[in-house]
């Protein structure tokens, strides 16, 4: 596919940059840890129905992590007009979008994979048998968040508000995928396949597919000058 190779080049560039500076992983990782620890004090964790509370706390912290990481990753492109360089390169716009999407997905998912076990230990959860469900929820939920987020981050950096308005754009539209991710994670923490879990997984798949398509089509409009 003609999009894949330039997209991987762009994501590879971000990865090499990250290996040298460790800006995003360090700041986002520490931030998520802080949110998780603060939330453990703020919410009644560990009691009855703890799976529900834990799933909510988990996804609030993942949402913040994704927003922070995506804002940062697009802000880097604005420095020294890197984004302009990407846009005048022969890579199609779809490939530029996919490249940034891979970066955002990779970084956010990596941070989440590290934080998940810490989270399970801190909140005294026993997700025996639900680990796969948790991973699935984390991946599909994060994919939905970063798909919409990557599209909106390209808009946000070109506004007066910069990355500050990214949450205002992403949060209202991402409520359905947040609800679905929380529900599936709750089933994951409980270690049982809930009655609605299949529906929620399908909703996440549908959300991801729909907005991936829309973002690929509309990304050209938010980047052309």
């Amino acid at each position: 596919m003609s999009w894949l190779s330039p997209a991987l080049t762009i994501a590879g560039k971000d990865l090499r940059l990250e290996m040298k500076t460790r800006d995003v992983i360090a700041s986002v990782g520490l931030f998520v840890l802080l949110v998780v620890v603060t939330a453990s004090f703020a919410f009644p964790t560990g009691g009855d129905g703890r799976e529900g509370v834990a799933a909510g706390v988990l996804w609030m912290s993942f949402l913040f992590a994704a927003l922070l990481g995506m804002g940062r990753s697009m802000a880097i492109e604005k420095e020294d007009a890197c984004l302009d360089g990407l846009l005048v390169s022969p890579a199609p716009r779809e490939a530029v979008f996919l490249g940034k999407l891979f970066t955002n997905l990779g970084f956010t998912f990596a941070v989440e994979l590290v934080i998940l076990p810490v989270f399970v230990i801190l909140l005294q959860l026993r997700p025996t048998g639900g680990a796969l469900l948790l991973l699935l929820a984390t991946f599909l939920g994060t994919l939905g968040l970063v798909t919409v987020g990557t599209l909106f981050a390209a808009m946000a950096v070109n506004t007066r508000g910069r990355e500050a308005i990214l949450p205002l754009l992403v949060m209202p539209v991402s409520i359905p995928i947040m609800v679905a991710a929380v529900k599936v994670s709750e089933a994951g923490f409980a270690g049982t396949w809930g009655s609605g879990t299949t529906s929620w997984l399908l909703l996440m798949l549908g959300y991801d597919a729909l907005f991936l398509l829309v973002a690929l089509v509309t990304f050209q409009y938010v980047t052309e000058e």
Binding site: L151, M155, M171, P172, V173, P176, G206
Partner: protein, 243 residues
């Protein structure tokens, strides 16, 4: 100077070319129809429609609430279509229609979110419940508020039009998913409080239909006025640039 401003290259915002007098006539038509039908609707809602046996007088807010919800939905559908039309043609007119419709839609959605709890308190006993319909309207309201906030943050007209068109498309495609998630989310508490329209008495149905017609006229009038105001503002901006 003036001719320069009109001959913009392709892809720029092109001025609308429909004659101004026809648009003024249309504005007056919608305004007049609203002025005529609004008192009729109020009269019908209070005197023609029968009192609901269970809900009492509170049920009469239904004739404002349901038409507002319908207009909120119509307005956001118009934003969606106009946003696609803008990205496809690059004509400023479609951005004016989309942004004006979003503003009017937010007003009517606000009315839904105010009249709903006013009715809910006497009938359900609570101002707010996470009923799928209420929840969906709350999320819609938030999405289009963010649309209006985004517009405020982008000073350049072309960029503002493109960005908000993308949000107008994404936001509307989100609506069915929002509704599904709101339904499933509280599926363990079935909320069948709302009267199904199938068993409405004839007088109630007629009043409701008059309400929908009235609010549609009102929407078209407000939309036309907002589009007109946007056009005037664009002309002022253009004059300031060329001066």
């Amino acid at each position: 100077m003036k001719t320069d401003a009109l001959q913009q290259p392709a892809g720029e915002l092109r001025p609308d070319v429909a004659p101004g007098s026809a648009r003024r006539t249309r504005r007056r038509l919608w305004g007049t129809l609203t002025l005529i039908s609004l008192p009729i609707l109020l009269g019908m809602a209070f005197f023609y429609a029968p009192e609901d046996a269970n809900q009492g007088a509170a049920q009469r807010i239904f004739y404002i609430h349901v038409p507002s919800a319908w207009i909120g939905f119509l307005a956001f559908a118009v934003v969606f279509v106009a946003s696609i039309a803008f990205l496809a043609t690059g004509r400023r007119k479609w951005d004016d229609v989309a942004s004006s419709s979003a503003e009017v839609g937010v007003i009517f959605t606000t009315a839904v979110l105010i009249t709903g709890p006013l009715w809910g308190r006497p009938v359900w006993g609570v101002y707010w419940t996470w009923d799928p319909r209420l929840t969906s309207f709350l999320m819609l309201w938030l999405i289009y508020l963010s649309y209006l906030v985004l517009r405020g943050y982008v000073p350049e007209p072309i960029r503002r039009a493109k960005f908000s068109a993308v949000l107008g498309i994404v936001g509307f495609l989100d609506v069915p998913i929002v509704y599904l998630s709101a339904r499933w989310w509280r599926s363990e508490h079935p909320t069948q409080f709302v009267v199904e329209s199938g068993d409405l008495p004839m007088q109630m149905l007629v009043t409701l239909l008059v309400g929908v017609a009235t609010f549609t006229f009102f929407y078209l009038y407000l939309l036309a006025v907002r589009v007109h105001a946007g056009r005037l503002r664009a002309r002022v901006e253009e004059a300031e640039v060329s001066r």
